[in-house]
Amino acid sequence: MRYLMTTFGDGSTPTEQQFEEMDKFITELSASGVLLAAGGLEPGGVHVTSLGSEFTVTDGPFAEAKEAAGGFALVEVSSREEAVELARRAAAIGGDGTTIIQQVFS
């Protein structure tokens, strides 16, 4: 089963040590075949809205930083619990924040 994990940080910048540990964690997960893809996301980005016949493009930044996703990970695991466990480990390194875990249907 494939899950997309999107993380929303608390707006603080990670320390050098957090970066290093997260890097190690990601390498380890890729190695064990669990992590298929991961990446950090730029703050803001572009919003596009479609409403009726109207298509609106708005450049960021938007509102507060903690409302935007800071990173994502696509994992291949055998249960939802396993995805939760991975999020727990990531949180132990990354600190406060929210992660949304959603199964990806193919």
Partner: protein
């Protein structure tokens, strides 16, 4: 969220590392798994009450390790507390090597393949027995048995927990790759049952493969296997239609191929190529898969390149299936006629005799060549041979697309031929075997008018060329009878009757016999047996069946199986010594009592000694051993050759 679910998730992620680390400590993979299970049980009982620890993996590892140390202490190896008990977590590199060692162990070549698969999924994959059983459609009992057997064999053979080197590495590694790919394929193309895919197995194999690629990064075949699996898995969504029917590669919607997995596959293939060296079978297969992945449409496929890769693959992996695929590629790159020619070279391979893809491919090539009626016939044959429901429906669908023949078919004629009232039951059974083979090999729907002596000859050669003359002649008689009945004279034109007289066994020359009788070190049992065979001329099995109570020592004869066996003076002189004071039971006995696991019929047991009747095999072996130096060919003689006038 359910704590049990969390425990299981942590277990799935950590078990390989935990079991591997414990195996290094206790040097027994069976014990290591038990200790790890203890830790799992502890987690299942403590976490619901005390909450999930901050670092669940470390918790499990620590508990398991403590149990291992306790165990070693109990085994009176006391000096361990300092260097093991408080040891900080092992360096990642060491841990990695442990997991790699575990994979080599669970895929060890001393184990039968099903045991390798079960043990690897259990120990390295962290799957439960129930999960493995479900994936392979067998009972949990079967899987438990395979795992127990595997552990027992590893312990008995004292297989070391190490990393193989040099030439051994190549062999052991290829076994690991084979197990991983087997798991993948069982998920990717289920050989039996309703569904065509069991995706959880493929995912597990990919996980194992990716893990292996990090553990053994210097082996190009490992990356090749990963690349192959990633690219094949990328097609999962496109491989089956809405109703679950398989969609062949060139009809798949390429937009549904998973670009992420293709990308990962290419990356793995590049890693394999960067390592250099001649490409192995997995790298070549991955390169072929990559060719398909690169083509935007089926028409864009670079079949010339694929044919070249198959040619290379056939050199390192000349299996019938690879040769079959090479024929497919040739058919695409050089036209259906070239493909059919390549296929014809395979038609007589006994391995492919009942392999549904052979007629399936043939049907496809014939359809491309515009020979619709023949194509239809091949598809129907293929459908009759496959065990997979989805695949059968697909093949029947392709057969249906071709026009139906109006003429009587082979199967119809066979049914009528066997259904006649004037045939006895034994004849029907005998002829039935012949006709069934003919229908399976040539296809039920073959128009009877298209049946040729040439085809019949090929079926015979493939199926029965190695059989005894009598079997061959029996099938030949059936064909002659069928040909006469169906008004197709000459169907047996290619089948010559075989001489079924048993070739006479040459008797042992008298000079050799003399030396056999006079060798001093022969035991009395053997001496009596050999003399008795020679003097009586009776069949070996009859002589071995002799019972003490049936011997008539005065008249020098015994009744066995309703016939008389009689002997002469030399046997008579030696018999009393062999009999000693036995009154009943088999005359010729083994040296030892049968093992408790064997059940021996009471009639084959000596009531006095408890020894069982000497077997033909053992008696033959002993005679061969003894006469090896006397036989000019060095093979030794057979007991049957002791009979004075061999018939």
């Amino acid at each position: 969220m359910d704590v049990t679910g969390t425990v299981e998730a942590v277990w799935k992620l950590e078990s390989a590392r935990i079991v591997a680390g414990l195996t290094r400590l206790v040097r027994d993979v069976g014990l290591a798994e038990e200790l790890a299970q203890d830790a799992l049980v502890a987690a299942l009982s403590q976490w619901p009450a005390e909450g999930v620890p901050d670092s669940p993996g470390a918790w499990l590892t620590a508990v398991a390790k403590r149990r291992a140390v306790d165990h070693l202490r109990r085994a009176r190896r006391v000096d361990l507390d300092d260097d093991v008990g408080d040891e900080p977590a092992a360096a990642p590199a060491g841990e990695r090597d442990d997991v790699l060692r575990l994979m080599f162990l669970s895929c060890h070549t001393v184990l039968p393949t099903p045991a390798r698969v079960a043990l690897t999924l259990r120990l390295v994959g962290g799957l439960t027995v129930a999960e493995i059983a479900r994936a392979f459609l067998v009972t949990e009992q079967v899987i438990r048995g395979r795992i127990a057997d595997a552990k027992r064999i590893l312990a008995e053979q004292r297989v070391a927990f190490d990393l193989p080197e040099g030439a051994e590495l190549a062999e052991r590694l290829s076994s690991v790759l084979e197990v991983v790919y087997l798991v993948f394929n069982e998920g990717y193309m289920a050989t039996a049952g309703e569904g065509l895919l069991r995706p959880e197995l493929s995912a597990e194999a990919l996980r194992l493969g990716r893990l292996l690629a990090v553990l053994a990064p210097g082996e190009s075949e490992v990356h090749g296997l990963v690349a192959l699996m990633e690219i094949q898995a990328s097609r999962t969504a496109a491989r089956t239609g809405p109703s679950g029917a398989p969609v062949p590669l060139d009809e798949q919607d390429r937009g549904r191929w998973d670009p992420l997995l293709i990308h990962r596959g290419f990356a793995a293939l590049l890693r394999a190529r960067d390592l250099g060296g001649p490409p192995g079978p997995y790298v070549l297969q991955a390169a072929i898969a990559a060719c398909h992945a690169q083509a935007r449409t089926a028409q864009d496929t670079d079949w010339a390149q694929i044919t070249a890769l198959y040619n290379a693959l056939e050199r390192v992996l000349p299996t019938p299936v690879v040769r079959l695929n090479r024929a497919v590629a040739t058919g695409r790159s050089a036209g259906p006629d070239a493909g059919l020619a390549a296929l014809d070279a395979l038609a007589d391979d006994p391995v492919l005799r009942d392999y549904h893809l052979l007629p399936g491919v043939r049907g496809d090539l014939l359809a491309r060549a515009g020979r619709a009626a023949e194509a239809r016939h091949e598809f129907q044959r293929a459908a009759a041979l496959t065990r997979n429901h989805a695949e059968r429906d697909y093949l029947l669908g392709r057969a249906g697309a071709a026009p139906a023949p109006a003429a009587p078919t082979l199967a119809g004629a066979a049914r009528e031929f066997l259904g006649r009232a004037d045939l006895g039951a034994a004849t029907i059974r005998s002829y039935g075997q012949t006709m069934q083979r003919l229908c399976r090999s040539l296809g039920d729907e073959l128009p009877l008018s298209a049946l040729t002596a040439d085809q019949v000859e090929r079926v015979f050669t493939t199926a029965w060329s190695g059989t005894a003359a009598r079997t061959w002649n029996r099938h030949r008689a059936a064909i002659r009878s069928f040909g006469a009945w169906a008004a197709l004279p000459g169907l047996d034109a290619g089948l010559t009757r075989r001489d079924d007289a048993t070739p006479p066994t040459p008797a042992i020359p008298p000079a050799v016999l003399d030396r056999i009788w006079t060798t001093p070190e022969v035991r009395s049992r053997e001496r009596v047996l050999w003399l008795l065979l020679h003097e009586s001329g009776a069949p070996v099995s009859a002589v071995l069946a002799l019972d003490v109570e049936n011997l008539d020592l005065d008249d020098r004869r015994a009744r066995v199986r309703g016939a008389w066996v009689s002997w002469r003076a030399r046997t008579a002189r030696l018999l009393p010594e062999l009999l000693a004071d036995r009154r009943r039971g088999p005359l010729f006995l083994t040296d030892r009592r049968p093992s408790p696991s064997r059940t021996v019929a009471p009639a084959d047991l000596c009531p006095r000694t408890g020894h069982s009747r000497l077997s033909y095999e053992r008696a033959e072996y002993l005679f061969k051993q003894h006469t090896r130096t006397l036989d000019p060919s060095g093979a030794g003689y057979t007991l049957r050759q002791l009979r004075p006038t061999s018939a």
